[in-house]
């Protein structure tokens, strides 16, 4: 038997399908945003005022030389070990009395920091250090803080610190109480304040 000619496909709904796809892509694509490590620079101070005295054991010294080698507390270190070393230092909490740290889980080594609130990381670099090496070190130090903050946020609020910050930034979709979230973030920040001192790059080569 002879074949029938195929009927025309109705194209009327094609536009609907196209719009459906368009809306799908509109909703799902996010425009690429820049991201990076946020920092706050210190204001320029008068030369006269001496810096407040810090106990040597509360300072964690990191030096990056021009070849991108690390010297941490007078010992050569690989970049991959820096994060753990910084965590150990910040979380040590060997202080007693009013310096005691009741949430620290560190080794309580009397030679290391008293309390995360007092612990300062001092980062020094040479003028010829490459920017990439510097960022790598910054990244590891920020990672150490984030890891400790996540741990405490998880323990106190049952939610990681990074997630809390994301929720706070996401004004449109966060359904909870933003004011309370802000307070909670502040509380975690105060437990592990980011004290990162950067000396001016040394002038001598």
């Amino acid at each position: 038997m002879a074949k029938r000619s195929a009927p025309d496909v109705n194209a009327g709904s094609m536009a609907d399908i196209a719009f459906l796809l368009l809306i799908f892509f509109l909703v799902t694509t996010t425009i690429e945003t820049d991201s990076g490590i946020n920092r706050k620079l210190p204001p320029i101070e008068d030369e006269q005022t001496p810096p407040p005295p810090l106990k040597k054991k509360n300072v964690f010294e990191v030096i990056v030389n021009r070849n991108g080698e690390l010297l941490v507390e007078d010992q050569v270190m690989e970049l991959k070990d820096l994060r753990q070393a910084a965590i150990d230092f910040l979380d040590n909490g060997s202080g007693t009395g009013k310096d005691a740290c009741n949430y620290c889980q560190g080794k309580k080594d009397p030679e290391s920091s008293d309390n995360p609130v007092k612990a300062t990381i001092s980062l020094q670099n040479d003028r010829e250090t490459s920017y990439g090496a510097y960022i790598a070190v910054q990244n590891e130090l920020v990672a150490a803080y984030n890891e400790l903050r996540n741990r405490e946020a998880q323990r106190v609020f049952g939610k990681s610190f990074v997630k809390m910050e994301q929720d706070f930034a996401d004004k449109a979709n966060y359904s909870g109480n933003r004011e309370r979230l802000k307070e909670n973030i502040k509380q975690i920040r105060e437990m592990y304040p980011m004290k990162l001192s950067e000396a001016e790059a040394e002038k001598n080569n």
């Binding site: 002879a2 820049d34 991201s35 706050k40 990439g132």
Partner: protein
């Protein structure tokens, strides 16, 4: 007999192209939405370092960009091979940064000025000397909020070269 014979089915009906414009528009819209327009023409090599502890830069209109790196091939003969600062579309000296920040700040509404962030887009091979100078100028201009803009990735890669 031949009376009932239908037309030979060899010639298929033409496919309707009525929806082609829709598809084209859909693609057009998609690309319009997804593309990021580069505001400045880069005259320098700008390979950002990688980091994984990154935060997103919020509010794009409140960001000032400072670029730094070695001049790209076309400009080497004119500007040498030392790392330079680029503000907007032209090379600048470190001392021009303060003026640049003041101008940028003046162009924003007063209540938003405190939220201005400076995004440092610096090539990974740049020496820290230049970066320190930039940071010092920013401190002098009282632009304390900065963002070391990076790509997302493993930080150890920065030590590759």
């Amino acid at each position: 007999m031949s009376k009932f014979k239908k037309k030979k089915s060899g010639d298929l009906p033409a496919i309707s192209t009525a929806s082609l414009p829709d598809i084209v528009f859909m693609l057009l819209f998609f690309f319009m939405v997804a593309t990021v327009m580069r505001e400045n023409t880069l005259m320098i090599k700008n390979e950002l370092p990688t980091a994984d502890q990154v935060e997103k830069l919020q509010k794009k209109d409140l960001v000032m960009y400072i670029y730094a790196g070695k001049p790209s091939e076309n400009y080497k003969s004119q500007y040498g091979t030392e790392a330079r600062v680029q503000l907007n579309d032209k090379f600048a000296n470190v001392s021009d940064i303060q003026q640049f920040i003041i101008e940028e700040r003046a162009s924003k509404r007063e209540e938003l000025q405190k939220d201005l962030t400076t995004s440092l887009k610096i090539d990974r091979e740049t020496n820290m000397g230049l970066v320190s100078d930039i940071k010092y100028e920013l401190r002098r201009a009282e632009a304390y909020r900065i963002n070391y803009t990076t790509k997302t990735g493993d930080a150890v890669e920065n030590f590759g070269k």
